[in-house]
Amino acid sequence: MSKCRAILETVDLRKTYRLGDVDVEALRGVNLRIRETELAAIMGPSGCGKSTLMHLLGAMAKPTGGRVLINGRDIAMMNDGQRTEVRRKQIGFVFQKFNLLPILTARGNIEVARTIQGTARGDGHDEHLAELLRLLMIEDKMGRKPSKLSGGEQQRVAIARAVVNRPAILLADEPTGALDSKNSEIVLNMFRELNRKFKQTIILVTHNPELAAYTDRLIEMRDGLVVHDSNPVGDEEISTLVI
């Protein structure tokens, strides 16, 4: 087996929410490594901690315990500004509810991401965007507001927005959860294409077992722990040292 790099790694990752005087242990020691260019699916029953894990992998929150290493840097040690920078430079998010800005057109939504990330002009970004829009088949929908797009189209705009700046990792939390089966299939095929064409590392959360067919690897969770992994990354496979 050729040596590869773990782009994302968690070590004994814990997250506890405080609800009044009750502690909810959403993650209870997750150890996970994700390879670069991998398309992995996370499955598990409702409330098992999938979204919580995605938020931590995406530097949206601080863990209660353990480590989250994104490209070797531990976000547990970071302040809000540093985590924001990680999100800006390394992460793309796709949500179940699309989360497009309703006041902007499809193009406006993508432009906002480019402005925030400082890639509005040049450096081949425009060609990359054009290619993306072609792949996602939404080139002719760019002038429309989200309210004038179907759910499938909205989600494809959201995907374009998430990857327009070539993030190291694309995180998608139930991306087909709000779509019918036909649109789900279209969107899943797009993830597959993104992964093949642009070597995009993607982690998907889903409730849909059929999704396994689209992915390289299936990770199952239960009660805040990983209980099964179809293709785990062993120590011998890791080439980079983790601090």
Partner: protein
């Protein structure tokens, strides 16, 4: 992004812009009106054409306007005994409070014109019969008067004999003899206007008059002008400060409310921006920029509205003057922007402090 946000909430944007416009209009019109009136009365006094103003001890031009306390004879003495004096004109001041507050000059036309040059009659002529009065063009326009018209003044009825060009001290002129009779101050005057001989040093004549009439108040007209500047008028500065403060407070509250309510409305949007990697500073700047745009639009609307209001005021009340200077345009714009910054300060911090995950989950 900013314009899309403003356009997507048209009513809120419109109301905020109008509120800022109101703030700007309030400042410009009230300041313009008060300084305009102050400047105008200063201009009118200079328009008399005298070099020196002679008043009794302890009197001020702004206060104690109507008291006939000086013997008219003093004027003649000054003219004959003080070298360099060309002419002296006694004036008895009265204020008419019927239908507005107007200054009435009781004058002797011959000496008054000797001091300040001839009146310029636009219509009619100088009073000659008892009960006649001369008014200036602005007063005539505001009361729609023509020669021969009758007016009620100082509890008497007068007939307008002529209309003169404005700018000669007062808007209304009566014979000094009549004025003395009306106030029971026979042979008395409130003040004297003095003209010095051609080529005479005004300061030297002023000193000579001071020596001649010990204790009297002798003022150069050019000094009086600066005393009449708006900043010298008692109570005007605090009044203007209060107006500006109230206007800015209105602006601050409206911007605050407008921005504060959108933050709640836009919680999800802020969460989305944060998930895309927008920093807290980005969110703060976004809210600030939006309120600045609202304020700038408000300034533009406010400046136009002020011009319209000022135009209407001057049309309806020709005796009023609204002076809007470049300085006050800038100040009003500055105050509007200031209220935008103060008003969006807390809302923008609140927006930046939102937790990204909770904001995204907000319904």
């Amino acid at each position: 992004m900013i314009f899309a946000s403003l356009i997507s909430r048209p009513v809120r944007t419109l109301v905020s812009v109008l509120a800022v416009a109101l703030e700007v209009t309030m400042i410009l019109v009230i300041v313009g009106l008060t300084t305009g009136i102050a400047k105008e009365s200063g201009r009118r006094i200079v328009g008399v054409g005298a070099d020196i103003l002679l008043q009794g001890p302890n009197s001020s031009y702004m206060l104690a306007l109507s008291s006939g306390t000086l013997p008219v004879a003093i004027g003649g003495k000054v003219k004959s005994d003080v070298p360099g004096v060309k002419a002296v004109a006694p004036v008895l001041l009265q204020t008419n409070s019927q239908g507005g507050l107007d200054l009435v000059y009781g004058i002797d036309p011959v000496s008054f014109e000797a001091v300040g040059g001839p009146f310029h009659f636009l219509d009619g002529q100088m009073f000659s019969k008892p009960g006649e009065i001369v008014v200036d063009d602005l007063y005539a326009r505001s009361k729609k008067l023509r020669p021969g018209a009758r007016i009620e003044l100082l509890s008497q009825t007068f007939t307008v004999s002529g209309i003169v060009e404005n700018g000669k001290g007062a808007r209304l002129f009566l014979p000094i003899g009549l004025a003395q009779e009306m106030t029971g101050a026979a042979n008395k005057a409130t003040l004297f206007y003095v003209k010095v001989d051609e080529g005479q040093d005004v300061d030297a004549v002023k000193t000579a008059i001071e020596k001649f009439l010990q204790g009297y108040k002798v003022t150069r007209m050019s000094d009086l002008m600066s005393q009449m500047a708006p900043s010298k008028i008692p109570g005007l500065e605090p009044f203007l400060r209060t107006v500006v403060f109230i206007a800015v407070a209105v602006g601050v509250l409206v911007i605050f409310l407008s921005m504060y309510t959108t933050i709640t409305e836009r919680t999800r949007e802020i969460g989305i921006l944060r998930s895309l990697g927008a920093s807290k500073t980005y969110i703060v700047v976004l809210i600030f920029e939006e309120s600045i745009v609202v304020c700038l639009l408000g300034v533009i609307v406010g400046v136009f509205a002020s011009k319209m209001v000022a135009g209407t005021i001057v049309k309806v009340f020709p005796t009023l003057i609204v002076t809007m200077t470049a300085e006050w345009y800038l100040k009003a714009a500055g105050f509007a922007l200031l209220s935008g910054i103060i008003g969006s300060f807390y809302p923008s911090l609140k927006a930046a402090k939102l937790d990204p995950i909770e904001a995204l989950a907000y319904e």
